[in-house]
Subunit: 296 residues, 2 copies
């Protein structure tokens, strides 16, 4: 991992933790359990890759770091909600996440459902607040883009495809499409948010979108490789789940060697899309390297 | 029920159904089940009281009916998501809703979780779109207000208090506070949205807020009375659930007669808050009457 990336990952993790800590101060009534479960889910864990992508992309457009950090927090709120709901017994039924019991294990299922619901509302509350950007047009555009990326045309749609997938044998095209919705859409939003915050017009975002597309796919293939080969202790969650569930993944369809080659090729290709940018894109370049060369 | 209310309820029900019908056109991929479950949950049922409140309040400020209807659709999307999640086995465990099987009964639990998640994202997508209001400041304010009303400081917080309530004996103050969050916040948003859409400044909304507060409470007491005395066939869901669960409600705390008197007094009080408005507030007045005199 590059020096720049190492220090930026540590800085963003600390920022996200301390902001969730303030936002999630438990109230003095019977909602206390809900807030404690939200803290359990959100504070002190996770790679914080999506928040880092928001901040890294925002640099390209000289965005005020405070605006970028608030947007990063909203994206992480959506990501945390999706993990809590995906871990539920009716979904992927996972007991461990980020090295600790999942929310429905540490608390109960009702609380886990409500934790996810609350984080989704909180994400949009953060984006729409004046502190996120002085221009309300920018705030409304962020809300639209995040709602599309996380709703039925994005993340939730991808998870629905994933739940349906157990019954069907999938080919590479279908798995790519599923992952593009399930994880790619939120990664793409994280990067596009930098352009939205910087008032970069949609027609100028072609290269950035190409970068996001290739990075998202590379990241997911690397995830499948970790599930097949990774160390559960380093990952903080179970491995081998996909294989046990008989799920078609990039690894089951391509084999380990071709999957790894494909991930590395996509990562290089992603970096090439940034050719026109200068040093301000170095952090995005290091992230693209790291996406395919990590142990969790 | 007054003539104005009868015709407006029929009109809004048709508008909400036809808009959900368009929005929820199933895609030609494995998300089809998700969309079919969303249609099952959202189309052809429900009183559509919250959408009607949005449109009725918007009349006070001469808001473009199209803007009001889009906002009404967003509120109903949040309401539908909350019903689908509240009905889950881990929450209130209900089999029937709006006269048909609940989503997790007609489909499965994973689908019901995703249906709720998708409707929440869709609500914010609708509000933030330019078609909802030409002024992005208004759209951002709508998003903020709905996110607060439906998140941990509102509806989700109220549901969390309700889940915690089974363990504790509650007094009237606690039950009022719980219901203010669980159902009152979204009802209050529905009414305040009219003022937001009409660019009525926050300091001018005192009477409207008082109306919303009293109406929300009256509506909830009437709901408790229906649960205690109502006809499951007319309601389209089970009755007697609160009593069976040993939950403290307005009826268990006040008794049937005092609860009914309290609901009617709150309804009259709500109408008095509208004193300064003219005929344009007649629909809101009829809704306040109806809220405490309905069979479902």
């Amino acid at each position: 991992m590059g020096d720049l990336l190492t220090s930026e990952l540590a800085r963003i993790a600390q920022e996200i933790d301390s902001r969730f800590d303030v936002l999630l101060t438990p109230p003095d009534d019977s909602r206390r359990t809900l807030y404690e479960a939200m803290r359990h889910a959100a504070i002190g864990g996770g790679k914080r890759l999506r928040p880092l992508l928001v901040c890294a992309a925002a640099r390209l457009f000289a965005v005020d770091p405070e605006c970028a950090l608030r947007t990063a927090l909203a994206v992480e709120a959506i990501h945390v909600y999706s993990l809590v709901h995906d871990d539920l017994p009716a979904m992927d039924d996972d007991d461990m996440r980020r090295g600790r019991p999942t929310v429905h294990k540490a608390f109960d299922e009702a609380t886990a459902i409500l934790v996810g619901d609350a984080f989704q509302a909180m994400a949009f509350e953060i984006l729409a607040a004046p502190a996120t950007h002085s221009d309300p047009f920018v705030r409304a555009e962020l809300v639209t883009a995040l709602a599309v990326a996380s709703g039925p045309a994005g993340m939730v749609g991808g998870q629905a495809m994933d739940m349906a997938a157990a019954a069907v044998m999938h080919d590479l095209g279908t798995v790519s499409r599923l992952q593009q919705l399930k994880t790619g859409a939120l990664i793409a939003f994280s990067i596009e948010a930098g352009a939205i915050l910087g008032r970069n017009p949609p027609e100028g975002r072609t290269r950035l979108r190409a970068f996001a597309h290739d990075l998202g796919l590379a990241f997911q293939i690397a995830d499948d490789l970790l599930d097949a080969e990774g160390d559960p202790a380093a990952m903080g969650k179970a491995a081998g789940k996909d294989d046990a569930a008989g799920k078609a993944t990039f690894v089951s369809l391509l084999g380990i060697d071709r999957a790894r080659a494909q991930a590395q090729s996509l990562s290089r290709q992603a970096i090439e899309h940034l050719g026109n940018f200068g040093r301000e894109a170095d952090l995005l370049r290091e992230i693209a390297d790291y996406a395919v060369d990590r142990d969790r």
